[in-house]
């Protein structure tokens, strides 16, 4: 479990990027839910934490594919593959992320630092 931040420091409508490998984006939706997904878009090297959060979806800041924060599914090209989702735990007013064991869907040309 990775501690992300105190709950109070991530207001609704905001996102946070965790500098792990690969980076993870944590979102606090307007409805008060918290989700974590890989931060890197599956199309190209864009940070989804910089994207636009609307409901349970984030729109990639570069080419506007939208990812469902609950499932990771993408709505339309240019991204084609879903983004990996992670479990979120809130304990003692702190947000934690449980990183997924599934392989990430990184875009072409982006590799894990440990493999670089």
């Amino acid at each position: 479990m990775i501690p992300a931040c105190p709950l109070a420091s991530l207001p609704r409508g905001e996102a946070l990027r965790l500098d792990v490998d690969p980076p993870i984006a944590v979102f606090h939706t307007d409805d008060g839910e918290i989700f974590a997904i890989d931060d890197t878009c599956t199309h190209q090297d864009a940070s989804l934490a910089d994207g636009w959060l609307e409901g349970c979806e984030v729109e990639c800041p570069l080419h506007a594919s939208r990812f469902d924060l609950r499932t990771g599914q993408v709505d339309a090209p240019p991204a084609k593959r879903p983004v990996r989702t992670h479990e979120v735990v809130v304990e003692d007013d702190t947000i934690y992320v449980v990183p997924s064991d599934a392989p990430p869907n990184l875009p072409p040309g982006v590799t894990l630092k440990e493999q670089a």
Binding site: Q44, A46, S47, D50, G51, W52, P61, L62, H63, A64, A76, P77, P78, K80, R81, P108, G109
Partner: protein
């Protein structure tokens, strides 16, 4: 409707076919495409694909779980449409009658007159063009790019990254000036020059020299620029010649209402070939950008399925991006509507800034250069602002 025929198997055609399905249409969909390829993404052709950073498989627009139920007729062009009868004639001699027709034939690169048959002169629109250019650049030392639009500026940047000696010739005062305005175009020109692209501005190309193969470019001031490869990035023309006797109203593109409906019922047009009525601008115009096709595919499908009664939401300002070197350029709106432009974040000299274009106090366009997060906020602001009739 039992049969809908989509002409053009690229971005706009694919997304309209998908939108028809997601809006509940269960009938037959036939997609006719002149190219042999399944729909692929064009923006990387001047960027990562040209550079060799990604391969052909990465260009596919369809995912692995693509829904079936579309009949593809690839390598076949539509040569004629009778819009009233909704009958298409195809290049293989067959014809096809449909209840609805989607025109998504895009645009073709404008070519330099007089360079036909001269090796080493390229335009860039298709995968085949990109393959040929990539192969030619691999053995070239000097590239001259004619035209400082987006494609010209991107090819210049990519070739520079590949280590070529690159000159960009622009007849106007600075590359991209027509779209982003002169002040900001000057700032971006600096980014190119710092990265080693030689810019020649305010002159015309009078001739591409060479006998069998191009060996240079002659300019209106008499200068001769030697070149191993020449790329003409001088704009694109809508692919509508085949519609000449269709009965549809044509202008710079297929003229459509604000929902994408063409002048004859049962026919819609979408993507780079379509000039939709823009009530805010008070004119028909084409939008030659990716997100334009994406947003309008959904609207065009609704127009077709409703028989033209669906009320489209007011069109949003066009958004596009361009990648040149390590610079991510993002733009939304119409620079020509603005009377002022101010840098509100960063510094053009530093390679990262955001500029807002205003008419009075109303923001009408925003340019972001390596300002992805802030630009996204501005883009949303412009997209959700009430549309004003202009």
């Amino acid at each position: 409707m039992n049969t809908i025929c989509v002409v053009g198997a690229s971005l706009a055609g694919l997304l309209t076919a998908r939108a028809l399905r997601s809006q509940g249409y269960g009938g037959r969909i036939v997609v006719i495409g002149e190219e042999q390829h399944r729909p692929y993404d064009r923006p990387p052709l001047s960027k990562d694909f040209l550079k060799g950073a990604i391969g052909e498989a990465d260009l596919a627009l369809e995912g692995e779980d693509e829904e079936p139920g579309i009949e593809w007729r690839l390598g076949v062009a539509a040569t004629r449409l009778d819009a009233t009868a909704r009958r298409l004639t195809l290049s293989d001699g067959t014809s096809l009658a449909a209840d609805g027709v989607v025109i998504a034939t895009g645009a073709a690169a404008r070519t330099l007159p007089g360079t036909e048959g001269l090796a080493g002169v390229h335009t860039l629109r298709t995968l085949d063009d990109a393959r040929a250019l990539r192969a030619d650049l691999a053995t070239a030392r000097r590239l001259v790019v004619i035209g400082g639009g987006f494609i010209g500026a991107e090819v210049a940047a990519t070739a520079r990254e590949l280590g070529l000696d690159v000159t960009l010739v622009e007849s106007g005062p600075a590359p991209l000036a027509g779209v982003i305005g002169l002040t900001m175009a000057q700032a971006l020109a600096g980014l190119h020059e710092e990265r080693g692209v030689r810019l020649v501005r305010g002159v015309q190309v009078t001739e591409v020299t060479g006998t069998e193969r191009a060996d240079g470019v002659r300019l209106s001031d008499g200068t001769h620029l030697p070149a191993d490869v020449v790329v003409a990035g001088i704009g694109a023309v809508p692919n509508i010649a085949w519609l000449g006797d269709s009965g549809l109203e044509l202008g710079d593109g297929v003229l459509c209402d604000e929902g994408g409906g063409a002048s004859v019922p049962g026919v819609v047009a979408v993507g780079d070939c379509a000039a939709w009525w823009d009530p805010a601008q008070g004119r028909h115009h084409r939008i030659e950008h990716w997100t334009g096709a994406r947003q309008r595919a959904v609207v065009a499908a609704a127009t077709l399925l409703s028989g033209g009664t669906a009320r489209p939401e007011p069109a949003r300002p066009a958004y596009f991006w361009s990648d040149q070197f390590d610079v991510k350029i993002q733009f939304i709106g119409h620079a020509r509507d603005a009377d002022t432009v101010t840098v509100e974040e960063g510094d053009p000299a530093g390679g990262s800034f955001l500029a807002v274009y205003r008419q009075g106090d109303r923001p009408v366009a925003v340019l972001g250069v390596n300002q992805v997060r802030l630009f996204t906020r501005w883009r949303r602001r412009l997209e959700t602002a009430p549309v004003q009739a202009g």
